[in-house]
Symmetry: C3
Subunit: 131 residues, 3 copies
C-alpha cells in the first residue's frame, strides 16, 4: 500500500492525480489486476472526469456549490457541512483496472481528488492487487 | 463472503457499521489486500463520513432530503422514488484497503449504511481478497 | 479484462447491462472473488438500481435532470456540462462480489449504464479477480 501526498490549493478544487497514481502502480510491479484508490478524509472525494478542458472542472464545482449550500438548519458547528455532504455524493473509493502495468483509463479521463474544504494537505491511499 | 444483518431505525438514517465490518475482516484471516462492501438493496446506500459529531449525519440527511423530494411527476407507484434516487447518488459499493488484518480508515472516518426507506432489515455483503 | 460494447438509445437513459456482465464473469472461469466494472467515459456513469419497474428509471433520470441543469455560467463550450456533472455524482466504478461463478446481486437489483449525453456507442470494462 502506498500513500500519495496531495496539497490542495483552494476551498474547492479538482486536482489531477493521474500521474501519481500511474507511478504508484508502476512501483507495485503488478502487471494485471485492479487498483483500489481510497481517500481517508471526510470533506473531500475521489472522482474521474474530463482531463482536457479545465472548464469542465470549473462547471462541476460551480454546480455542486449551487446544489449543496450552507444552511442555517445545519447543526455541525465547524460550518463545513456542505463539504461533508459533497464528499458522500462524490464518494471516497474508486477501483481501476490494471493492464500491462498501468491503469486503463478512457481517452478523456483523468483521476481527480475533489477538495471541498481546503486548502489542506490530503492523502490518497493506493493498493494494487494482481500478479 | 459474509453477510452482515443491519436493522435500520427510521425512514432515513446513517447507521455506523464500522465495527461489524472490521470484525468480518478479522474473521477472514486476510492480513493484506482489499475489502469489497456491497449493499444488495435499491433504496439505501453505503458511504463513508465523519464518525465523531453526529450532527454531520443529521446535516447530510437533511440536505439530501431537500435535494431529492417527492414529485408528482414520479411514476413509480410505491412512492419511494426519492429513496431510489438517493441510493444511486450515494452508491452501493465501497472498496477498503486492508493492512495488518484491518480496514485502514482515516482518523475521522466511519462506514455507514445510508437508509433512505426504512425502517427495514438490511444486509451488507463483505468479501476480502488478499493473503 | 473484457470490453462490453453498449449502444445507448437516447440523450439520457439507464441501460440494463446485468446479463452482459454475468456472461463476462462466466467466461472468466473465476468462481469466487470480486468483479470490478469500469466505465471509460466522462459523460455517463455506472449504477445499480431496481430491475423490475421501469418507472424507477424514469424517475431517477427525471430528478437528476431537474437537479443538474444547463447553466449560462457553465464555461465548457461543448454544452454538455450537466452530463459531466451527473457522471461524477453517479460514479464510474462499481465492485461486485462473485460467488459460484456469478455476481451476487440483491433480488431487485440490476446493473445499469447511466447515459447522460447519448445516443452513443459506449464501453464497459470488466475484470474479475479471484480463483
Amino acid at each position: 500500500m502506498e500513500t500519495l501526498l496531495i496539497a490542495t490549493p483552494a476551498g474547492s478544487a479538482l486536482i489531477d492525480i493521474t500521474r501519481q497514481v500511474q507511478e504508484a502502480i508502476a512501483r507495485s510491479g503488478i502487471q494485471e489486476g485492479i487498483c483500489a484508490l481510497f481517500l481517508p478524509h471526510t470533506t473531500a472525494g475521489l472522482t474521474l472526469n474530463e482531463n482536457w478542458d479545465p472548464d469542465v472542472r470549473h462547471d462541476i464545482l460551480l454546480t455542486l456549490g449551487d446544489l449543496v449550500r450552507a444552511d442555517p438548519r445545519h447543526r455541525h458547528d465547524e460550518g463545513n457541512s456542505p463539504a461533508h455532504i459533497k464528499a458522500s455524493l462524490v464518494g471516497h473509493s474508486v477501483t481501476l483496472l490494471v493492464s500491462q502495468g498501468r491503469a486503463r483509463l478512457g481517452r478523456w479521463q483523468g483521476i481527480y481528488l475533489a477538495e471541498f474544504d481546503g486548502p489542506r494537505q490530503r492523502e490518497v491511499w493506493v493498493k494494487v492487487v494482481g500478479e
